[in-house]
């Protein structure tokens, strides 16, 4: 177990690969800031979904070694999701280029949902460390549950800004199904014949 848990830096590196790829593409001028907004946003959502998926997945299929590893380092995944969200916001700001344009659209359905999701992610990221965990004790879990309203906002943001439900739907579907299974489990009586 120790050898696996020591691989957390490897996990961090893996989580950074998309960012490195996108950064290189931007540097070489192959990807412009408009495409980067979409790419970084999608990676943020993917990692958020992955982090949220782990415990319902354990509930559904039972413990697996790789699941335990990911669950153990779930905070890294969450922080990476926030990191990509920050990049997403940065490239949005770069792409917009001025405050007037940003303020002009900030109440549009596809935009305020993104800002709100980001605001909810902020306390999650800030408390994703041992110190905050010790300090907040049981309250830490409660803070981390902000991820649920944040995920709903991410979903709406994606659907509205993209004018399409397909990509957002495909990404969120596994999470919705697994969460549904976990929520319904107590009501699905094991005593049935």
């Amino acid at each position: 177990m120790r050898t696996i848990s020591n691989n957390q830096y490897l996990l961090g590196l893996i989580l950074a690969i998309p960012a490195l790829g996108l950064g290189l593409g931007y540097w070489q001028g192959q990807i412009d800031s408009m495409d980067l907004i979409q790419q970084t946003g999608e990676w943020s959502a993917r990692l958020m979904i992955l982090a949220m998926l782990l415990s319902p997945l354990v509930a559904a299929i039972g413990r697996r070694k790789w699941l335990t590893f990911l669950l153990f380092h779930r905070r890294w995944i969450g922080v990476a999701a926030f990191g990509y969200a920050v990049l997403h916001l940065c490239f949005y700001l770069i792409d917009m280029g001025n405050l007037d344009d940003i303020l002009a659209e900030w109440l549009a359905p596809g935009i305020w949902t993104g800002w709100a999701a980001m605001v909810l992610m902020l306390p999650l990221a800030l408390t994703s460390n041992d110190l905050a965990m010790r300090w907040l004790k049981a309250g830490w879990k409660r803070v981390q549950r902000l991820v649920y309203p944040s995920a709903v906002l991410v979903l709406l943001h994606w659907v509205w800004v993209h004018n399409s439900i397909t990509a957002a739907f495909l990404h969120f579907l596994p999470l919705v199904i697994l969460t549904l299974i976990r929520v319904l489990k107590p009501w699905m009586s094991p005593l049935k014949p």
Partner: protein, 104 residues
């Protein structure tokens, strides 16, 4: 709280997914027309630039031309144009519909 938020998440997601946009794939679609009758994207860009637009990017989407750019009024939008007539069909700003031609 422990079960409430996940349950609420599922419920909202299930309501949000099918109802959020009135349109399932892309904003609007254009009836199929033979490509030979299409005007070029460059012609569309030239027309829009003349009208005061700034065009960032254009592509084909749902049988229409889709353009990302800034309107003469200064709004950052995503707009759709008919590939044959280059007529403006739909203009939206991040999910907020600013213009939609009747029938589209």
């Amino acid at each position: 709280m422990r079960r409430f938020l996940p349950a609420l998440f599922v419920a909202t997601a299930m309501v949000a997914l099918p109802t959020a946009p009135a349109h399932a794939t892309g904003a609007i679609t254009c009836k199929p027309t033979p490509q030979s009758r299409w005007k070029s994207q460059d012609a569309l860009k030239a027309q829009l630039t003349k009208q005061g637009w700034t065009v960032r990017k254009s592509k084909v989407d749902g049988g229409c031309y889709e353009v990302y750019g800034t309107t003469p009024e200064g709004d950052r939008v995503e707009a759709y144009f008919h590939p044959v007539t280059l007529e403006k069909l739909y203009v939206a700003r991040r999910g907020e519909v600013l213009f939609r031609k009747k029938g589209y």
